[in-house]
Symmetry: C2
Subunit: 358 residues, 2 copies
C-alpha cells in the first residue's frame, strides 16, 4: 500500500484507506496524470497498449475520479435538482412517486443524479428559495420543474436567471415559453375513459372534476366533453366541479345521482372516484355492477380497492425518459432544445367500469 502522508487526519479516521487519485494511477501505470485523465474521458486519444496499461492500473487501485475536483474543474456537478412538494394525506394521488422513481433510474443511466429539495415555502415565505440556493451555489446543473399547472412562477424565475431546466408539464400560461417541456395529454386520457364507457353502452356519463381555476382540471374536463359531443351525447347538468377530496367527490356524486341520473362517472382523479364509490356504497349500489366509475392516475388505491377502479394511467416512465433526453440536449454544448413532447395516457380497465344496465 502506498504511503499517503498528504492526507489529513480527519479523512484517515473516516475512511480506512483514502481513495486513490489520478496521480496514484499515473504512477502505477508509469504515465503522466493527463494520460490517465484522457484514458477516463477520451480513451480514443490513447494508444491501445497505453490505454490497457492505464486501465489495468485503474482497476487494480479501484480508482474513481473525485467528484468535487471534477466538478470544480468542469463547472458542472452532474446533479439535477427536483423540488418535491408535501405528501397529500387523505388523497389517492401517486403520480409524483412513480415519476421520481423513473427519473432517478433514467437520469442515472445518463450519468446524472437527482437531488431532492423542498421549497420551504412555509419557512421562508418564498417557494423559490430552494432554487436560488442551489443555483447560486452551483450545486446542480439543471432543474426538473413540475407542477407547472400552478403557474409559471418557477419557469419564468429560472428563465430569467438562465438556469437550465426541463418542465414536466406544459407551460399553461405562456404560449411564448421557449424552454423544453414534456407533458401528458390528460384531455386525451379523459376522452379515452369516456369513450370506454360509451363503448360499454353508457349514455348518461357524468363528469366529477376540479374547480374552474384548475387549468389541469379544465383540460381533463375537455376530454370528457369532446368524447360526449363526438358521440352526440348530452352533457347538460352532468358536470360537477369540486375540491380534490374524497368527501367532495362523495357529495358531488350524491347530488348528481339525485338530479341527473347518470349511469357512469368519469373523474378528474382517483381521489374523486373513490368519493363517488363512497356515495354508491351509501346507497347500497355496487360500483361496476350498478353504476360505472372511472378514475384518473392509476393510484395504488385504484389498483387495490374493491372491485378494482378503472383508471387513466399516465406514462410516467416514458415521461421521465423524455425529460432526461431533453435535459441531455440542454446540457450539451451547444445547448440543444428539441421539440416538446406530449405523451398519451392509457386506460387500466378494472371492475368499476361495467356495462350500462339501466
Amino acid at each position: 500500500m502506498l504511503e499517503r502522508s498528504r492526507l489529513d487526519a480527519s479523512r484517515r479516521a473516516r475512511f480506512a484507506v483514502s481513495a486513490p487519485t489520478l496521480a496514484d494511477v499515473a504512477e502505477l501505470a508509469g504515465v503522466s496524470r493527463q494520460t490517465v485523465s484522457n484514458a477516463v474521458n477520451n480513451p480514443d486519444l490513447l494508444r491501445a497498449d497505453t490505454l490497457a496499461r492505464v486501465q489495468q492500473a485503474i482497476d487494480q487501485l479501484g480508482y474513481k475520479p473525485n467528484r468535487a475536483a471534477r466538478n470544480l474543474r468542469t463547472r458542472s456537478s452532474h446533479l439535477i435538482g427536483l423540488r418535491i412538494s408535501p405528501v397529500q394525506e387523505g388523497t389517492a394521488s401517486a403520480v409524483m412517486d412513480r415519476f421520481v422513481h423513473s427519473l432517478v433510474e433514467t437520469s442515472g443511466e445518463a450519468g446524472y443524479h437527482v437531488l431532492l429539495f423542498t421549497s420551504d415555502a412555509q419557512v421562508t415565505g418564498d417557494p423559490l428559495a430552494g432554487y436560488d440556493e442551489l443555483l447560486r451555489s452551483t450545486a446542480v446543473d439543471a432543474f426538473i420543474v413540475t407542477d407547472t399547472y400552478l403557474g409559471e412562477g418557477q419557469a419564468s424565475w429560472l428563465r430569467e436567471r438562465r438556469a437550465p431546466f426541463v418542465a414536466f408539464g406544459r407551460p399553461w400560461d405562456d404560449a411564448n415559453a421557449r424552454h423544453p417541456w414534456v407533458d401528458i395529454d390528460c384531455a386525451a386520457g379523459a376522452e379515452l375513459a369516456t369513450r370506454h364507457l360509451i363503448d360499454k353502452g353508457h349514455t348518461r356519463i357524468a363528469w366529477i372534476g376540479w374547480k374552474k381555476d384548475s387549468v389541469l382540471g379544465e383540460e381533463r374536463r375537455s376530454g370528457w366533453l369532446s368524447a360526449m359531443h363526438g358521440a352526440g351525447l348530452p352533457t347538460t347538468g352532468l358536470a360537477s366541479r369540486v375540491e380534490d377530496a374524497v368527501g367532495s367527490g362523495r357529495s358531488a356524486a350524491q347530488v348528481m345521482l339525485d338530479e341527473a341520473t347518470p349511469t357512469a362517472f368519469v373523474c378528474a382523479s382517483d381521489t374523486l372516484a373513490i368519493g363517488v364509490m363512497h356515495a354508491l356504497a351509501e346507497r347500497g349500489l355496487q360500483a361496476g355492477d350498478d353504476i360505472a366509475v372511472v378514475g384518473f392516475d392509476d393510484s395504488q388505491v385504484a389498483q387495490t380497492v374493491w372491485p378494482g377502479l378503472t383508471s387513466v394511467r399516465q406514462p410516467l416512465e416514458q415521461a421521465a425518459i423524455e425529460v432526461v433526453k431533453a435535459l441531455e440536449g440542454l446540457l450539451s454544448t451547444p445547448p440543444q432544445v428539441g421539440p416538446s413532447v406530449m405523451l398519451t395516457p392509457t386506460l387500466e380497465i378494472r371492475g368499476t367500469s361495467g356495462p350500462d344496465r339501466s
Copy 2:
C-alpha cells in the same frame, strides 16, 4: 459590473452573469479572501465592523460559496445518499414516500441534501453497485440505509468500507452492529391494533401476516400474539402467513372465515387488510359493521377506502428527524454515535374497526 475575462465561453453562454467568487467579495470589501471565508464560516473571528463590511459586499454581489470548490477543499459534499427501490405496483404501501419527504425536509434544515439513486440490481446484478460508485467517487458524505429487514448486506458492506451511514431499521441479523440506527417498534404497533380490537369487545381476532422468512412479519405478529396472550385470548388457528398481496389477503381471509370464525382481523399491511375487505365484500359482509379489520402503514388506501381502514401509522416524520440527528453526530469531528432510537407507532382509528356484534 466587473469584467470577468477569466470565465470560459461556455459558462458565459449558460449563465448571463457568472457567479461572484470569494475574490470578488474580497476586492469589493477591501479585505483578503481569507477574511471573506472567515466571514462566511467563522464570523466570530472577525471584528464587528469588518464583518459588516464583508457582509454588505456579500449581499451586494449576491455571493454564495461555490459548492464544488468547497467540497474539494473540505472533502465533504453535504450530500447524503438514499437508495430507493422500485415502486410496488398493486400494493398499498406508502411508507417510503412519506419517509423520503420528511428526510429531505429535515436534512435540508441541517444543511444536507438528499441524493437519490437506484440499485440497478437488475442491470448490474449487484445491488451494492450504486453505493460503491457514490462512495468511491466521494459524491456523498454518508448514506441512509433502509430495508434492513432484507438482510445486513448493505450495512456490513458499508461498515467494511468505513462509510458513514445511518440505518432506518434495526440490524435484525446482527446483534453486534455498532452503527447508529432508528427504527419503529412495529410489534408495539400490532399490539396497539390488537388491544384496540380487544377493547371493542372482540375475542376471536385473527392475524393475517407475512411469510415466516420475513423478520418484519414475525415481529409484527409477535405484537398480536402478546396482546392476545396478555388478554388471555386464544390464538390457535387464528394466524395465517401469506405473500404481501391483495389476493393473498383475500384468500387467507376466506379460509379463516370458514375455519376459525374470527370477528376481527389484524393485518401486517394495508395491502393484506384490503384483501380481507375484498373477502368480506364477496360475502356481503361490511367491514366495520360485521367484521372488524385493522391494517398497517396508514397508506393512502387506508385513508380513502370506504368506510376508512383503521391502520397503524408509523411516525416517519419523527424517524427522519432522528435519522438526521444521528447523521449529524456521525459526521461531526470526532464522529459521535449516540444510542439507537426506537419509536412507537400510533393507531389511526377509522370505520373498519367497529365493535364485536357477534
